[in-house]
């Protein structure tokens, strides 16, 4: 990882940009913290066991009730939704945990914010490590589903364009949301650990990740349509499963490109808002003397 980071840093346009240099170094640092400082064997098990176990909970729940009818479209819906959701929680909580780590654990906030770095790019970079781990977990979980439960995904029939485009937009929207939560964390003295988890938990419940939105009571359903994750999960499922995914009423009246359009709009708004929110939160944290606060909470 160090060699890769070195190479990227030596690219002329990266070397010239403060933001890009900060981003690359922060991503390298995040990776060192997440992986190299733990026993590699334990780290590998930890990265695989949690996602596999969480999807197996749903598999067993499903199998107990349906007597193992894994060929039903609802099974693929639940399985893929849960697998893709790993990325949601990794990216969203990744940035806020970077703030908590730097402030409470490593106590380096003072040094970081007195250094000539781009804070926005730094936090984005710190989130990359968790995103990479999340991506690996998603791929392994889907691979496991293909082998163990014969998920109806065929490489030849995957709509790669829709998958890559929607995933890029989905991850960008998640990163912007994560950055806003990280910014909020800078101003909190208590319960900062719960901020990311709470938003991730809400998305799990309201974005139709593991059950179609129609299962929710009618007064709760509109909440699902507010989050970009709902559109990303729907688009990714359609791209991976093909016509089978369209069997569900959730968002069925939207075409693939309408989904991408809505997702693009939401992502653009979130990125702009996150930039302003970060600046405002940083200013507030500095004004109130919270930036290097160590609460040991």
């Amino acid at each position: 990882m160090t060699a890769i980071a070195d190479r990227i840093l030596n690219i002329p346009f990266v070397r010239r940009s403060d933001a890009l240099r900060t981003f690359v170094v922060a991503a390298w640092l995040g990776w060192q913290i997440e992986s190299n400082w733990a026993d590699p064997f334990l780290f590998a098990i930890y990265s695989l066991a949690r996602p596999i176990a969480s999807v197996l909970i749903l598999v067993v729940m499903y199998a107990v009730i349906t007597d193992g009818a894994m060929e039903q479209p609802i099974f693929s819906y639940i399985y893929l939704g849960n697998a893709l959701y790993i990325l949601v929680s990794s990216v969203i909580t990744g940035v806020s945990w970077a703030v908590i780590d730097d402030r409470e654990h490593y106590r380096t906030m003072k040094q970081l914010y007195t250094a000539p770095l781009d804070g926005y790019a730094y936090l984005m970079g710190r989130g990359v490590a968790r995103m990479l781990i999340g991506t690996i977990s998603v791929l392994i979980t889907i691979g496991f589903g293909l082998i163990a439960f014969h998920l109806p995904i065929r490489l030849a029939t995957i709509d790669w364009g829709l998958l890559l485009l929607s995933t890029a937009l989905g991850v960008a929207s998640l990163a912007a949301m994560g950055l806003m939560l990280g910014s909020l964390t800078m101003m909190l003295a208590r319960h900062f650990w719960a901020v990311g988890e709470m938003v991730a938990g809400s998305l799990y419940l309201f974005s139709g990740a593991i059950f179609p939105l129609e299962v929710l009571p009618p007064w709760l359903r509109p909440l699902g349509f507010v989050f970009p994750v709902t559109y990303w999960l729907e688009a990714a499922r359609r791209a991976l499963l093909g016509p089978q995914a369209l069997g569900f009423p959730t968002l069925a009246h939207f075409s693939d490109w309408q989904l991408v359009g809505i997702l693009s709009g939401m992502t653009a708004v979130l990125i702009v808002v996150s930039g302003f929110f970060y600046r405002w939160a940083l200013h507030q944290a500095k004004e109130k003397g919270l930036i290097d606060m160590e609460t040991a909470y």
Binding site: I57, V60, I65, R190, L205, P212
Partner: protein, 280 residues
């Protein structure tokens, strides 16, 4: 001139008792001084439990499974308390510089750990009760209240075995250094899976369920579900009587093992000079 009172030196059980309450005190007082935890500690676990309920609804599961999820969701509070507020706590205390104070004090380490558990029970109990009450009302879960005394006995035995295990873990986590964090994370979802937090553990087959019975919550949860739901006994792993017996034996074994392991670790740490070593 005021008379100087001699302070009675605590020994034996009295020392254990006082140490336990001394450690529990800041946690209990902390919960009354800063009450916003009640919101964060109840809403967050509620959402995952509710999500699992909706999964069962999506696949048209019988109503008793909704009850299984609610009871399992409530019990996750105790497992999380053991992992994060007990097993990992000595590692964090080492990081913050409290561990050396514990070691230097005459109070037994087991009493300190038990104090953490007792102190954390206010928060954990609230969390579990919130899941149980809110979800039961929200999803109209019906319970049968046949043997309330037996239910209480099983719950108490489960907690004794579980917190004994937590004390044992504390010594293991302390020895594992920076990996303590990963270990705690590793023991969340995989344990929810093998212990059958969201489905009857019998569904995993005899051998997996037997292996998972090492975790006291597996049998505790199974026995409680058998007593609480009309369809529970037909979905139970072992009979309630057998599960109660195993839980009682587990409690004794875990508490004794924790005592031995904590003593050994402290001894080894002192000898190697690494007991209070901090690495970030």
């Amino acid at each position: 001139m005021s008379e100087i009172r001699e302070v009675e030196k605590a020994r034996g059980f009295s020392l254990f008792w006082r140490t336990m309450w001394a450690r529990a005190y800041p946690r209990i007082i902390g919960t009354t001084r800063e009450k916003s935890w009640a919101f964060f500690d109840t809403i967050l676990p509620l959402m995952s439990t509710v999500s699992y309920v909706f999964v069962y609804r999506a696949i048209n599961a019988p109503e008793e499974y909704i009850g299984f999820v609610v009871v399992g969701g409530a019990m996750t509070a105790f497992w999380l308390n053991v992992l994060w507020s007990m097993a990992s706590q000595l590692y964090w205390d080492k990081d913050m510089g409290n561990l050396e104070l514990y070691v230097l004090s005459p109070g037994p380490m087991m009493a300190i750990l038990l104090g953490m558990a007792v102190g954390g029970l206010v928060m954990t109990g609230t969390r579990a009760a919130a899941i149980l009450i809110v979800c039961s009302l929200l999803f109209r879960v019906t319970y049968q209240t046949g043997s309330l005394l037996l239910l209480l006995a099983i719950f108490t035995l489960t907690m004794a075995a579980l917190y004994g295990m937590g004390m044992m873990f504390a010594s293991v986590f302390l020895a594992s250094g920076r990996e303590a964090w990963h270990l705690s994370n590793l023991l969340q979802e995989p344990i929810y899976l093998v212990s059958g937090f969201y489905f009857p553990v019998r569904a995993l087959g005899f051998w997996v369920a037997t292996f998972a019975s090492v975790i006291p919550l597996t049998l505790g949860l199974d026995a409680m579900r058998q007593l609480l739901f009309a369809g529970g006994p037909s979905l139970g792993f072992l009979s309630v009587r057998t599960e109660t017996g195993i839980l009682a034996v587990s409690a004794v074994i875990f508490i004794a093992a924790a005592h031995v392991m904590l003593r050994k670790l402290e001894e080894k740490g002192r000898r190697d000079g690494r007991l209070i070593e901090r690495r970030r």
